[in-house]
């Protein structure tokens, strides 16, 4: 432990603690802008670039004052150090720096998507900036959007969070700092459209952007138009991770579960049928689990089959392996994601059941995710141009919609989802957290394979926020080796390991693109780097699971019913047609042509 004095408060901190963290221990919150950390989740962005967190070191290691101000985020405390965080020199510098940043920022806060959630706005407010003394050139760049992500980098403050996320955590490498000096900005190669780059639309750049430079593509008005169109039957599905995060947008504690209130709100918004993606998550387990057992049995019989099986629920991940591992397209499960399974069931089975033409049904999904917006627009998920899922809204968009409709979520009655696509099990609920799909699949696969009930259905080893986990589950004498990871850089390592001969002998690997799984998705309320929020969402997820009467997908009566009534059996002919997909080589190549 070392002794430091911050703003005349004497404190003891561990060696290697930054001034920023030491100050927080002392209850002093030094403002930051570029600094970003997901504590305990191996993500720290510390370029030391914005210079907002500068402090004055009045006594340094040598007993003398430091010549320049020091960035608190990146300066370690040393024994006997004395620091001022609000001396006149610091305040003047900090204000001037923020004024400079604002002088190169379009001040359209009122219309900005990020308004209210913007860290620069909060900073200007905190510092009481009332005018910007500098007038001068402003950076202007082309606006650009993919199906999920909007880029308006006129607003970029060069915090580099998106770049770190895209490269270090996701290893997608779509974004890089380009140019230099005043023209420096984060952009795709050649400042091409992000959609033409290696971007997989995971949207994590949006989740970490402090300002409105990276935002989501807003589909609220599309959904409102559908609801207002009397000729349309509008069906909504809500993903598992939404119910544990939506409350945050309404001032509730992180980890508050709002499943019932959400269902009521959706009805009040005017959706005709309020269903649950959890239901199709159970369906996914049936299909994917069966596929896994099929491949394992083949291998046990000495036949050729590709192992390990990778999950395919996460569209960011699907896009990632299509772009980066075109030689391994036979590894991931062919099962569609729960969103797309739901869409397929809704527009085939359910539309037929209620006598609505496919074209007259609009399926809306509420997702914690930005990639889902791109997923539902894929051609392979359309029939004659009509998509199985028409629009995908994020948790944040749903919150905006609820607010716009003057609905007070806090004081709503709870209600249930509609039938028959509404009932779900605890296995489906935990899809939202990293390791959840694996746990759900093991619960079902074990019982289907062994014919015996699983003694302890809580597979604790695959829970938690570590980036990569592995476990071996004894399937009655057959050791099944499973792996779980989130973050596409971790996934890349897994893929490369498998490509190099799968030395650890994995049978089944779950991959989620976002930190902590869907609960940390890019469409969730902004966590601003507070990993406790993600942890609380995770805990809520497992709480919801524990409270469910049925916790194994194959025991969901509606699932059993639909196989009986419609699909016959998992991985059967009709389910292959409707519930499975195939993958494409989407890698970028330079091809040779003649001279």
């Amino acid at each position: 432990m070392i002794n430091v004095t911050i703003d005349n408060k004497k404190i003891q901190v561990e060696e290697g603690t930054t001034i920023l963290k030491a100050a927080r221990q002392a209850g002093i919150h030094i403002p930051t802008l570029c600094y970003f950390e997901l504590a305990g989740m191996n993500f720290e962005n510390k370029p030391g670039g914005c210079r907002v967190c500068v402090v004055e070191i009045t006594k340094d290691f040598n007993g003398k004052p430091r010549r320049n101000l020091a960035p608190a985020c990146a300066t370690d405390c040393v024994e006997g150090m004395e620091v001022l965080t609000h001396s006149p020199r610091v305040i003047n510098a900090r204000r001037t720096v923020v004024e400079l940043i604002l002088s190169d920022h379009p001040n359209d806060c009122l219309q900005c998507e990020k308004s209210g959630d913007c860290e620069l706005q909060a900073l200007a407010q905190k510092l009481g900036i009332r005018n910007i003394p500098f007038k001068g050139a402003q950076s202007t760049y082309r606006k650009d959007q993919t199906l999920s992500v909007m880029r308006d980098v006129d607003k970029c403050v060069m915090c580099r969070r998106c770049e770190t996320m895209c490269n270090k955590i996701q290893s997608v490498g779509a974004l890089s700092a380009v140019n230099r000096g005043f023209n420096a900005v984060v952009a795709p190669a050649f400042e091409m459209n992000l959609g033409d780059s290696s971007c997989v639309n995971c949207g994590q750049c949006v989740q970490v952007c402090p300002v409105g430079a990276l935002t989501l593509v807003d589909n609220i008005s599309d959904v409102m138009n559908a609801i207002n169109d009397p000729t349309k039957t509008v069906v909504v599905q809500t993903a598992p991770a939404v119910r544990v995060a939506l409350g945050e947008e309404f001032g509730m504690e992180p980890g508050t579960i709002v499943t019932g209130k959400m269902a009521t709100a959706l009805r009040q918004l005017g959706f005709d049928y309020v269903f649950d993606t959890d239901w199709s998550a159970d369906l996914t387990i049936m299909e994917e689990g069966t596929e896994l057992l099929g491949r394992v049995k083949k291998v046990l019989n000495g036949e050729k089959a590709t192992l390990p099986l990778f999950t395919s629920c996460c569209p960011g991940w699907v896009s990632f392996f299509e772009k980066n591992f075109p030689d391994m397209l036979d590894y991931p499960s062919t099962a569609k994601s729960p969103q797309q399974m739901f869409g397929a069931v809704a527009k085939n089975f359910f539309a037929q059941k209620i006598g609505v033409k496919r074209e007259d049904m609009v399926v809306v999904s509420i997702m914690p995710c930005l990639a889902k917006k791109s997923e539902c627009a894929r051609d392979e998920f359309k029939v004659n141009g009509n998509p199985d899922v028409d629009f995908s809204l994020t948790t944040r968009e749903l919150a905006h919609l609820i607010k716009q409709y003057n609905i007070d979520l806090n004081n709503l009655e709870e209600s249930d989802f509609d039938s028959p696509l509404g009932q779900s099990t605890g296995a489906a609920v935990i899809f939202g957290a990293t390791g959840g799909v694996m746990e759900a699949a093991v619960r079902t696969a074990y019982e289907v394979y062994t014919g015996k009930p699983l003694a302890n259905i809580n597979l604790e080893v695959v829970r938690g926020l570590e980036g990569t986990k592995e476990a071996t589950v004894d399937f009655n004498g057959l050791p099944v080796h499973v792996g779980v990871c989130y973050g596409l850089a971790n996934a890349r390592k897994m893929m490369e390991e498998v490509r190099n001969g799968n030395p650890r002998g994995f049978h089944f690997i779950e991959v989620m693109a976002c930190p902590g799984g869907c609960i940390g998705g890019a469409g969730q309320p902004y966590h601003h780097g507070n990993s406790d929020i993600i942890r609380k969402r995770m805990e809520a997820t497992y709480r919801e699971d524990a409270g469910k009467p049925i916790r194994k997908s194959h025991e969901n009566p509606d699932i059993i019913a639909i196989y009986k009534e419609y699909y016959g059996e998992p991985c059967g002919h009709l389910s292959h047609e409707q519930l499975h997909t195939h993958y494409f080589d989407r890698s970028q190549h330079v091809e040779a042509c003649g001279e």
Binding site: P47, V54, T96, L100, D104, R180, A184
Partner: protein, 604 residues
């Protein structure tokens, strides 16, 4: 066998090469052969002599005759007169501007008299592409001494004791730096030579590499031994093809001689050197940015600590020194710390190489003991201001430094005195200005450079410098206010205080020092809308004195903007009507004025 009686040293530095020194050498070789003298006279292409103003330089030995501004066609005469007949070619000798006497021995020229060449000891003396010449001047004896007689700690102690400070800018004690790196244990360490000289108007490192590459190689090996590194890397600007070539040749020869590679001089010490190329980014002179660039990344600096001595190239402990620092090392080892510490001032030992440039008679590369006054450098070595004009300012330290004035002329320059005067040593650019330079425009010039070279990582440098430049532009265009001057000061102070790296932290220096030393000139631009030097175009106009104008019309022909036309007025004694300038069309290029033989055009 005939003995070689004469050596012809011809400068092969970039400056002299640009004025045909290659042709001169070729002519020597051809003519000597024609005359059958090729075995008696040896022609050597050396590195820079320093006296670039008078290049190309040809030096004749043994009588030490220094021919200046030699043209390829002069060679025949030199051979016939000097070599064959032993008579000096008087009109190629340096003409002392004071007493109008021809000087044949460079030692007696003002330019060389006060110089002391330590880092440049071999430049202009040996053939840099022949390791044997370096060896025969005692080269590689320092590494031999180190390997056979000294422990690594001895080496560090000796360098520390010598008082050598880093020649790249801030002047950190070299021995201490080595000690920090030596302390850290690692399976691999690196010796890095910073040869990314990007300072506009500075070329000392390039000249050393071109003129004496082996001294760098030897010094890096010594450093490697001292800190425990077996790999050396030279980060060199790709814009320096000749220096790259010379280094490559020297490295190859050193390997061949076993002075690089495994088991050097049978000591068991291994060391080898690779080159890495810069690609045009001034910020890469900053050591963390340089390391990132070598790793194949954008050359953006990162915060220190961690210092490179702890985590440098590839995360391994690395020691970064610049070229000139290294060039001092071998001679310090052989001559001893005591010898070195007797040279220079109290806290800055040894000599410093400066690239002397600007409005000065003797532009060139000079090396003087620390503590020499600016006056000696500018008026003795530099030969005073060109055209007999008035000295106005001298800029040291490039974009990180400041402008010093008359009152600083007797300052004994070293790291600390320059810093105290609001400038800095920097890498050693020294640009002299006369009254034709506008100090606001000079501040703007440097800021333009910084803005162009800012990496853009931290906001004060990325946005702050841009805003400062905008304010300066406003002032030079006559739109400045007194509040702007206040804002300039505040911005400059904040940028200095908050920028991430050395480039950003020092970038306001040219502005601050001109504000301090030339406040009147700023106020003149702001209040009187006047630029006394006649540099700021928006603040001046060209006028024709109708009584002096003879109406020849040359100005109208020269004018690219068709802004000049005839008037009706014919001055007394002239036959043609005078001309006049339409100020609304005038683009202020000055073509009219420079072409007028009758001094009828002036700037108002």
């Amino acid at each position: 066998m005939t003995k070689i009686k004469t050596h012809v040293l011809c400068c092969g530095g970039t400056g002299c090469k640009a004025s045909a020194s290659d042709e001169i050498i070729a002519n020597f070789e051809r003519i000597l052969k024609e005359k059958g003298l090729q075995d008696e006279v040896q022609v050597i292409r050396t590195g820079c002599f320093g006296f670039c103003e008078k290049g190309p330089i040809v030096k004749m030995l043994p009588d030490n005759t220094f021919y200046t501004q030699v043209k390829p066609e002069d060679v025949e005469k030199i051979v016939n007169e000097h070599i064959i007949k032993g008579r000096k070619v008087t009109d190629l000798l340096y003409l002392d501007p004071e007493n109008k006497q021809h000087v044949s021995d460079s030692k007696h020229m003002g330019f060389y008299k006060k110089q002391l060449r330590i880092a440049l000891r071999n430049c202009g003396f040996i053939n840099p592409e022949n390791i044997e010449e370096y060896i025969s001047r005692g080269g590689y004896e320092a590494i031999a001494k180190v390997l056979s007689e000294m422990t690594p700690q001895d080496v560090i102690d000796l360098v520390t004791k010598s008082g050598l400070r880093g020649r790249g800018g801030a002047g950190f004690p070299t021995g201490v730096k080595w000690g920090l790196c030596a302390k850290n244990k690692a399976d691999q360490k690196y010796v890095i030579c910073n040869a990314d000289e990007g300072d506009p108007g500075a070329f000392m490192d390039r000249s050393i590499m071109e003129g004496d590459p082996n001294s760098i190689i030897e010094a890096m090996a010594i450093c490697g031994y001292a800190i425990g590194a077996s790999k050396g890397l030279v980060y060199i600007r790709a814009e320096y093809p000749l220096a790259i070539h010379r280094l490559q040749v020297a490295i190859a020869q050193a390997r061949e001689c076993g002075l690089l590679g495994d088991d050097i001089l049978g000591s068991g010490f291994n060391f080898d050197i690779e080159l890495r190329y810069g690609a045009g980014a001034f910020v890469c002179g900053e050591e963390t940015a340089l390391i990132h660039s070598m790793e194949g990344k954008r050359g953006e600096p990162t915060l220190k600590p961690p210092f490179p001595a702890v985590s440098g190239y590839m995360g391994k402990p690395s020691n970064v020194n610049n070229v000139e620092t290294f060039a001092n090392i071998p001679i310090i080892i052989t001559k001893g710390a005591e010898w070195f510490s007797t040279i220079g001032s109290e806290k800055s030992k040894g000599t410093k190489v400066f690239a002397l440039a600007g409005q000065i008679n003797n532009v060139g590369l000079i090396e003087v003991p620390m503590g020499t006054t600016l006056r000696d450098i500018i008026f003795e070595i530099g030969g005073g201001i060109k055209g007999g004009r008035k000295f106005k300012a001298v800029q040291t330290g490039g974009p990180s430094g400041g402008c010093l004035t008359e009152k600083h002329l007797d300052t004994a320059i070293d790291y600390d005195s320059l810093m105290a005067a609001g400038s800095m040593m920097g890498s050693g650019g020294m640009v002299v200005m006369d009254d034709t330079s506008c100090m606001v425009a000079i501040a703007k010039f440097y800021l333009e450079f910084t803005c162009e070279e800012s990496c853009g990582k931290c906001s004060p440098c990325r946005i702050g410098n841009k805003r400062m430049l905008e304010i300066l532009t406003k002032i030079t265009e006559g739109n400045g206010t007194m509040e702007d001057l206040q804002e300039l000061r505040n911005l400059a102070a904040v940028i200095k205080d908050t920028a991430l790296c050395g480039l950003g932290q020092t970038s306001p220096n040219p502005v601050l020092s001109t504000l301090d030393n030339f406040w009147d000139e700023y106020v003149e631009h702001v209040v009187d809308k006047k630029c006394r030097a006649g540099v700021c175009k928006k603040l001046m106009s060209y006028v024709i004195d109708k009584d002096k104008c003879i109406g020849c019309g040359k100005c109208a022909k020269n004018c690219p903007a068709e802004a000049i036309s005839k008037t009706d007025y014919i001055a007394e004694g002239h036959k043609l009507p005078s001309m006049s300038i339409d100020t609304t069309k005038c683009i202020k290029c000055g073509a009219c004025m420079s072409g007028c033989k009758f001094e009828a055009i002036s700037i108002k």
